[in-house]
């Protein structure tokens, strides 16, 4: 039985969703044009006015917004309501530069919490559940988002915040937490600790909602096995609202984007051109219901694919794949976009650890892609043909994933340079600039 928070929205017809998007986009564009000089400037530079935007078909006419814009406009430059109407600030970690702050009116918080409530119910959550939130609380959106969503569902909410594993486990056992919300790496850590201490029979978890960092299918299986739960993915970013921009349903073949609030586009990260559904590119979001901080065509830098095939869960909103990489680490080799994460996926799928290095060079004006892979005991054999066959298997799998030939070079362990414990993944010898 599929569980919905707002079935009339989540399962609305495509025509209905398009109608909502058309109307809300027009209104939002007018709103930012009138209230945010920064937007007005950007739009004027591009020679577009609110009158040019009549429906989502005109979305491509609008300028993009990037993290640099958010930094430039810091702190209040993109606030679209009077200060007195804004009630909350959340912020990014600031690990990639100056912090970015996002603002919310009470209405914005309300809609964001709705999105999180949809995610919790898609993971099977009901009023009877005990939702254990160990995402951080504070400026980070993880804790407040899931906390608010859990309230909306009517579940008993445990605002644990992150850290203090002893206390987490004690509350989990004593209070019978049924749904765990945290980062996948913390879930894996909790799973290990629970197994080590033999607490498996004392926990009552049935599902987990994990996001805020990249995780693989292998990690999902590991968490599911150790915690005896079904693990659901959730996606979001502070700039757009926080967790719950998209979330996984029972089918687990991608995350439904809450299209009544956010319009998703996939663009070519180099040219900025909009790509058709099913093609891989950079994910761009336009907020159409927010008041305080409605970003228009915000470039997430996340690379993924949109999928509009009907979903067995009954939801009609478009699904996005798990991000496959960041457009910031994208390489263009022979005109094809290559992401380190794709190579990682191939290695992990073949059961090898992801110890690799990508070397791009140019010979006779043609790009050459080489992937150095550290040899492992599993890959090794005393027979040359067996090692060569495994090498060829990798070449074929890389070709299937990337669409171009990559030479695989097996190297000795620890061959790949590590700087401060982190391996150097890309060496581009082309001197293109």
């Amino acid at each position: 039985m599929e569980n919905y928070y707002q079935p009339e929205i989540e399962c609305a017809s495509r025509e209905q969703i398009k109608a909502w998007q058309d109307e809300r986009l027009v209104k939002t564009v007018k709103h930012v044009y009138e209230h945010v000089p920064y937007y007005r400037n950007l739009m004027e530079q591009k020679g577009v006015s609110p009158d040019d935007i009549k429906s989502t078909d005109d979305l491509h006419k609008l300028p993009f917004l990037t993290k640099d814009d958010l930094r430039e406009a810091y702190p209040y430059g993109l606030l679209a309501v009077p200060l007195e109407d804004a009630v909350r600030i959340q912020s990014t970690s600031g690990t990639t530069g100056r912090r970015v702050v996002a603002f919310y009116t009470q209405h914005d918080l309300d809609l964001w919490e709705d999105c999180c409530a949809r995610a919790i119910m898609a993971a099977g959550g009901t009023k009877e559940d005990v939702v254990h939130v160990c995402y951080g609380y504070g400026l980070f959106t993880g804790g407040p988002g899931l906390n608010g969503g859990s309230h909306k569902v009517g579940s008993l909410t445990l605002p644990m915040s992150s850290g203090n594993t002893e206390r987490q486990l004690q509350f989990m056992c004593d209070l019978g937490s049924t749904i765990l919300c945290c980062t996948p790496s913390y879930a894996a850590y909790l799973g290990e600790t629970i197994c080590e201490r033999g607490l498996q029979d004392e926990i009552k978890l049935k599902a987990g909602i994990f996001g805020a960092e990249a995780w693989s299918q292998e990690m999902r299986r590991d968490i599911e096995q150790k915690l005896h739960i079904k693990a659901y993915d959730i996606y979001g970013l502070t700039e757009i609202s926080g967790p719950g921009v998209s979330f996984e349903c029972s089918e687990q073949t991608g995350m439904h984007i809450n299209e009544d609030h956010f319009i998703a586009e996939i663009i070519d990260p180099v040219t900025g051109e909009v790509l058709p559904d099913g093609e891989k590119g950079e994910l761009v979001f336009t907020c159409i219901t927010k008041e305080a901080f409605p970003l228009i065509r915000y470039r997430t830098r996340d690379i993924c694919v949109l999928n509009r095939k009907p979903c067995s869960c009954g939801r009609t909103h478009v699904k996005m794949s798990k991000p496959m990489g960041r457009s910031d680490d994208m390489l263009i080799v022979k005109g094809v976009n290559v992401f380190p994460s794709q190579i990682e996926t191939v290695l992990l799928n073949k059961g090898y650890p992801a110890n690799y290095q990508i070397i791009v060079s140019r010979e006779h004006n043609s790009d050459k892609l080489e992937v150095q892979v550290e040899m492992t005991p599993e890959m090794f054999s005393d027979k040359l043909d067996e090692v060569s066959a495994r090498e060829k298997e990798l070449v074929d799998a890389l070709k299937a994933m990337l669409g171009i030939y990559a030479k695989v070079q097996l190297v000795a362990p620890k061959h790949i340079a590590r700087s401060e414990g982190k391996a150097v993944r890309i060496i581009d010898k082309r001197n293109l600039y």
Binding site: S381, D382, V387, A412
Partner: protein, 143 residues
């Protein structure tokens, strides 16, 4: 009755083999036999040593990727047709060789062959039936 061969992954680059032999020298390990299979990028060293356990420990410590493979060792007369006789027996019994290599010893008139086959038991049976006794590990250690 097989002997332990140590197979080691090395990159096909200048100095790699020297680095390996240096490690053996430093640990006073003596090689009985050495064979190399290589591609342009990497090679597999196959060695028979006087102390397999110690070698495995030393290689592990040094971070090498290696495996220990049971192979058949056979003493043959160091004379014309010595190898031919054995190969014929194996061929007649449909035993395919993955690879093979030879070495001679200080013992006069005796050479040794190493055979890597998929089914050691079956190969051994065939050899014994034809009055050829595979050499055991101790015998090689003592050479």
């Amino acid at each position: 009755m097989t002997v332990k061969q140590i197979s080691v992954f090395v990159e096909n680059k200048a100095g790699q083999l020297a680095e390996f032999t240096k490690l053996l020298r430093q640990n006073s390990i003596d090689m009985r036999a050495l064979s190399i299979a290589e591609t342009p990028d990497f090679g597999i060293l196959r060695v028979i040593v006087d102390d397999s356990y110690k070698t495995a420990c030393v290689l592990k410590e040094a971070g090498y990727i290696f495996s220990i493979t049971p192979v058949l060792a056979v003493a043959i007369k160091d004379e014309t047709g010595g190898l031919d006789q054995i190969l014929n027996i194996l061929a007649e019994n449909n035993i395919n060789l993955d690879y093979t290599y030879a070495f001679i010893s200080r013992k006069k008139d005796t050479a040794y062959m190493i055979f890597r086959v998929d089914d050691n038991e079956k190969a051994k049976e065939v050899l014994v039936k034809n009055s050829i006794k595979p050499v055991c590990q101790d015998e090689l250690y003592k050479l």
